[in-house]
Symmetry: C2
Subunit: 219 residues, 2 copies
Amino acid sequence: MADESGGHPGRTVGAVISPRRERTRGRLLDAAFDVFARHGVQAASIEAVCEAAGFTRGAFYSNFASKEELFLALTERQIRAQLTALEVATSDVQPAEVGTRDGIREAVRGIIASVLPDPAAAQSWSVMALEFELLALRDPQIAARYAEQQVRLRDELVGVLERLVGSIGLRFAVDPRTAVDLLLGAFETGQRTALLAGADDDRASVLIEALVDLLVTPA
Amino acid sequence: MADESGGHPGRTVGAVISPRRERTRGRLLDAAFDVFARHGVQAASIEAVCEAAGFTRGAFYSNFASKEELFLALTERQIRAQLTALEVATSDVQPAEVGTRDGIREAVRGIIASVLPDPAAAQSWSVMALEFELLALRDPQIAARYAEQQVRLRDELVGVLERLVGSIGLRFAVDPRTAVDLLLGAFETGQRTALLAGADDDRASVLIEALVDLLVTPA
DNA sequence: TGTATCCGATACAGCAATGTATCGTAGGCG
DNA sequence: CGCCTACGATACATTGCTGTATCGGATACA
């Protein structure tokens, strides 16, 4: 608590983070993603994460103060990846291709989907998102962090989607922020439903398409 | 695994469950709800649950074989309560009172809200729902159980809402099942957002009202 | 009131994970 | 090429939880 220098628990006092250290942290984060997804953040032992990463706990405690801190570093990396993916997906869409109503549906779904990257990893990803929400529901400090990330992401999405829809002379039937919340909610719900039902009937796409039809109207 | 008689781990072989036993189980379930909500299912020790219930672990192992079984009993109790609450909420609504568009919004929101009972316990409830989803995402057996409960609840909701909307000469703009999925998704998302943002700005209501306006159209 | 049985308490052995203190070495710098 | 520091490995003490085996008191029934 008396350490205000940025949060490294290790003995590093100087400013720079060595490349070696960076690699170690990366491997620990990768391993943590797998292990947390498989066993749950709380159930996963630090030991298990280290083993999966090919280290011993010595490495861990040299890089992170606690499992919680490791998890937060992980979410930080995730949100960065999401925002980057969003940018890429946005730049991929050519307004010219979005003329039809089908085009709009497809484009919006693509944009939304871009923030939930690889479908193969959808399961792990959903799990991590849920774990994050759970921790946040219990710990106000984590809640603040979670809220901040959500706001960043949603603001970004509001901008992107409004621009996209507007560029072809349409608009949202409701407050854009509400529209985004509805879309994201529908997507997450649909995805989880599909995952839990076992069947990959892509409930998410169904919901998104229905919603887009309802939400997007002539200006 | 060789026990097909219903699942009591204790020494009870006879058919009847004594009142005493029933009370003990009830207190254990109440305590489990609190402790699980506060610390998480995985992080919570059996010991902690017993202490909260005013028992020792002897009582626990006499009633449940494992923490997982306790949790499943808890969800079973919850779903029953939800379905009951839903019936009550439905019978409370008089079609005559739903004539206006505001009336519809209010009625639908009420119905939806009835399956997420006490707002004071909303936090704990959300936590438990998330925990359940997480366990289901990892364990196919639990997933099946989860899916079954969800289907029960949603089918019920589809029936109720379709009847409600139809009774005043309106209809859903999309497949009713899709409508229900969207509504529930919006509700959960909104509620969690509000909980995590700290502010009780009742985002859920905003989303629900917007959705109802979009979903409910003249027949 | 006496008795049999059910059920929760107690005691115990064992384990897995944690955090720290210390050590050895790899890698960057002169 | 050799030193020195950063960094990860190792060893150790501690802790809290688990599950079982056994015991004693409460409860129901005659």
